[in-house]
């Protein structure tokens, strides 16, 4: 997808000469996490994860560092067994099956390329340990190098490659024996921004062409939202929500998801009344109205959060849910301006698309803002991301 790359830099494009594209689509295997818990002593790293990842899906686990997503990934790839529950791949219980016997390939965070081997030897390693002859190995390695648009680097050492090239070599190595499931542990975190954006597109393309199941671990919501078919948001070992990216963003089910995915203004309050999906809550900014997520019923006096995204907060008088805020500062981000406001001790953030006009100078002024009740979400009181 060269169109996704900014012009001026020529980045290689994957072409996938896979022998079994159609076959692999048929042979896709569902992964079932059946009430999986993983404990280290008294510490629970993963608490009762229960979900099905469909064959051929691009599935992401999104969460802050330490939320248990890597632990879960290691459990799927076979480096640890669940303390409770089962992991099934293609209907088969994986208990007691080592990582070398599972139909999974893991791309490590630091890529784990073998520093003493040449690039071609790295890529051919899975073939070597399966007893494929030297000549066939080299042929397959060259094919894969062609695929990752790095022809002719086979005899180089790994340290002679750039970060993006190593990234691709790691992917080629994982694909060398055509696994059913590719597990990726934050593989893009070491790349620079532009390359990261490019690789997102590439990964998505390769996944669609090969038809493999991709399980992708990241703390970067941008990566999770752009690439995935579905995203599981994790916090403190618990899977909070599993949904397609749009649902995750637009209809978060918990206060953690609402605050972790995207920017959100969280306003704490108590439920005053509810009529249908419309909930009135009492906040330090006065009485505000929002939508009850998922048709939830609140009792009067329940502690709750009202979430409103910065881009859904509008400047101006006469808006519903009007709040009188004070201007604090403004940040210019290129495509948008972030306005930091404050109302009665509650920080608010307002984002406006940059249309090229001069910045408003509102220093110290009182700023009237408001938002549509339908765009604000009321969720039960809970943990906020980063809090």
């Amino acid at each position: 997808m060269p169109g996704a790359v900014p012009s001026g830099i020529r980045l290689p494009v994957f072409t996938v000469p896979f022998s079994r594209i159609s076959e692999s689509v048929m042979a896709t295997k569902d992964i079932v996490l059946d009430h999986v818990s993983i404990r280290f002593g008294a510490y629970t790293a993963v608490d009762n994860a229960h979900l099905v990842i469909k064959g051929g899906e691009f599935f992401s686990f999104l969460g802050p560092s330490g939320c248990g997503k890597t632990t879960l990934l290691r459990c799927i790839s076979g480096f640890s067994d669940p303390s409770e529950g089962r992991v099934l791949i293609g209907g088969q219980d994986m208990k007691g099956i080592g990582p070398n016997k599972r139909p999974t390939a893991l791309i490590f965070q630091n890529l784990a390329l073998f520093p003493l081997m040449s690039v071609a030897d790295n890529i051919a390693f899975p073939l070597e340990v399966r007893g494929v002859g030297r000549r066939d190995r080299r042929k397959r390695a060259d094919e894969l190098l062609e695929m990752i648009a790095l022809p002719g680097v086979g005899d180089k050492k790994v340290h002679e490659l750039s970060g993006g090239q190593r990234q691709r070599v790691a992917i080629a190595r994982a694909l060398a024996v055509e696994p059913d499931i590719l597990l990726l542990d934050e593989p893009l975190s070491a790349l620079d921004l532009k390359l990261r954006h490019h690789m997102r597109t590439e990964l998505r393309t390769i996944q669609q062409q090969v038809g493999l199941t991709f399980i992708y671990i990241t703390h970067d919501q941008g990566e999770a939202l752009t690439m995935s078919d579905r995203v599981a948001v994790m916090n403190a070992g618990v899977i909070e929500q599993v949904d397609p990216p749009e649902t995750i963003y637009n209809r978060p089910k918990t206060s953690f998801v609402a605050s972790f995915v995207g920017q959100s203004n969280a306003i704490e309050g108590k439920v005053a009344s509810q009529s249908g999906t419309l909930v009135s809550i009492e906040t330090p900014l006065g009485r505000l109205q929002g939508r009850a997520a998922g048709g939830r019923q609140y009792k009067s006096g329940d502690n709750c959060f009202l979430f409103i995204r910065p881009e859904q907060l509008s400047l101006g008088d006469g808006l519903p849910n009007a709040v009188a805020a004070n201007w604090v500062k403004e940040e210019f981000e290129g495509n948008a301006r972030q306005m930091f406001l404050e109302a009665n001790g509650v920080p608010l953030r307002l984002s406006r698309v940059n249309l090229g006009g001069a910045a408003d100078t509102l220093s110290g002024a009182s700023v009237p803002v408001g938002f549509e009740p339908d765009q604000a979400i009321v969720l039960p009181h809970g943990v906020l991301a980063g809090a």
């Binding site: 390939a105 490590f108 003493l116 390693f125 340990v129 399966r130 024996v177």
Partner: protein, 416 residues
């Protein structure tokens, strides 16, 4: 320190002192190896000779000890390196508390004095041998076996330390990656970890070989009646040294120098190739010079020089010079004797005869020591002075010696 602060002369002087301190003894030792004087010294210089090398190689005790040392060292390497590797791997896999315990156990032999290790090795294996009723000729009482057993106990700990240091830099993720890519644990070990440990295996081999070869304080006990190179050397030094030991030092220094230079050539070449400045370098860009500085070429050249020197050395004949020196010495001795005799005669003329016991003998004896060592020098000149109450009836009657005349020169003569 630099010239500006007036440190130049001091620094240079200090360096000079330091290097003479370091290398002075070595240089002197090398020179003594080529002096024909039978005591290792450089003054007076007698003759340039290579005979001490021949003396060295003709020393059976030393040569058989050398063979024993080599056999033991190779065996120790073969046993200690795998044990050390296994220990290091175990340490890196264990939980931290178990690791501390095992580490202490494995490291203890290094901390125990070698003498204690040596004695306890013979005591332990001896007791074990006796308890199973082994004969004295069995391996329980064999010096080579005991030395091997004693050395392995602490040398494998050296190997382990080398491996531990290298393992600490190993990223265990690489093993996981290999497993994930379908390798069995055995394959992951052979294809990923072992190549990574390659340099450590090399240095552990070198280290254990040297540690075994040069070990004295454990070996001197465990070798029992046998000899290794070091024990043979030590006993030789104790019984009086000659320049053949210097000749040995020359050989060792030569081997070390060749090894160091070849290693340096290897390191430099690797560095240049790694950084990729080979094509721009003046030496490595030139095909002739490049071949010349290749470690193998360097080794061949140095080995050639050493071989040539050896060959020349075997052809060198110092006998003429030595004969000359001997003649000079004899002439000098003769001269001294003459002088002595002349002095004696003068003395006799000027002084009246005294009843000194040495007097009579001294006249007849041209010794430069004034006849002090004359066999009769200690006997009283007059028979009458001998005490009548002699303890025995033997010729010792005439001798007041507290040793009962045991040292009487005539004491060993059969009595008539």
């Amino acid at each position: 320190m630099n010239r500006g602060t007036g440190g130049g002369a001091v620094a240079a002087g200090f360096s000079l002192l330091f290097f003479s301190f370091l290398f002075g003894p070595l240089i002197i030792m090398v020179i003594t190896a080529f002096n024909s004087s039978s005591f290792p010294r450089i003054t007076p210089w007698e003759c340039f000779t290579t005979e001490w090398f021949a003396v060295l190689f003709a020393n059976d005790r030393l040569m058989s000890g050398l063979l024993n040392s080599l056999v033991i060292a190779v065996s120790v390497v073969a046993i200690a390196v795998p044990i050390g590797l296994a220990g290091a791997l175990a340490l890196s896999e264990l939980s931290s508390r178990l690791r501390a315990v095992l580490y202490t156990v494995l490291i203890t032999p290094i901390l125990i004095p070698g003498v204690v290790l040596g004695i306890s090795t013979i005591v332990f294996w001896g007791a074990l041998g006796r308890s199973v009723g082994a004969e004295y000729g069995s391996f329980f009482f064999d010096g080579m076996f005991l030395t091997l057993a004693g050395q392995v106990t602490f040398i494998s700990a050296y190997a382990m330390l080398v491996f531990l240091a290298r393992l600490q830099r190993f990223d265990p993720i690489l093993t996981e990656a290999a497993l994930d890519l379908g390798a069995t644990p055995g394959q992951a070990f052979r294809k990923i970890l072992l190549p990574f440990l390659g340099p450590a295996i090399g240095s552990a081999t070198f280290l254990t070989f040297l540690a075994s070869f040069e070990n004295y304080n454990t070996t001197v006990f465990t070798i029992l009646s046998g000899n290794t190179f070091t024990t043979a050397l030590a006993s030789k030094v104790r019984h009086g040294t000659d320049p053949s030991l210097s000749a040995l030092a020359v050989i060792i220094i030569g081997i070390t120098l060749i090894g160091a230079i070849v290693h340096e050539a290897h390191t430099r070449r690797k560095e240049v190739l790694r950084t990729g400045i080979a094509t721009r370098s003046r030496i490595y860009g030139n095909p002739v010079l490049k071949t010349l500085v290749h470690p193998l070429t360097v080794f061949l050249i140095l080995a050639g020089i050493a071989g040539l020197a050896t060959w020349q050395g075997t052809r060198h004949d110092a006998s003429v010079c030595k004969q000359q020196i001997l003649d000079d010495k004899r002439a000098r001795q003769h001269e001294l004797l003459e002088e002595q005799r002349r002095k004696m005669q003068e003395q006799q003329k000027t002084t009246a005869p005294v009843t000194s016991p040495a007097d009579a003998a001294g006249k007849a004896n041209p010794s430069p020591f004034g006849g002090a060592f004359s066999p009769n020098g200690l006997t009283p000149a007059q028979e009458e002075q001998a005490p009548a109450a002699a303890p025995t009836e033997t010729p010792a009657k005439a001798n007041p010696s507290p040793f009962g005349g045991a040292f009487n020169p005539n004491g060993l003569k059969p009595s008539q």
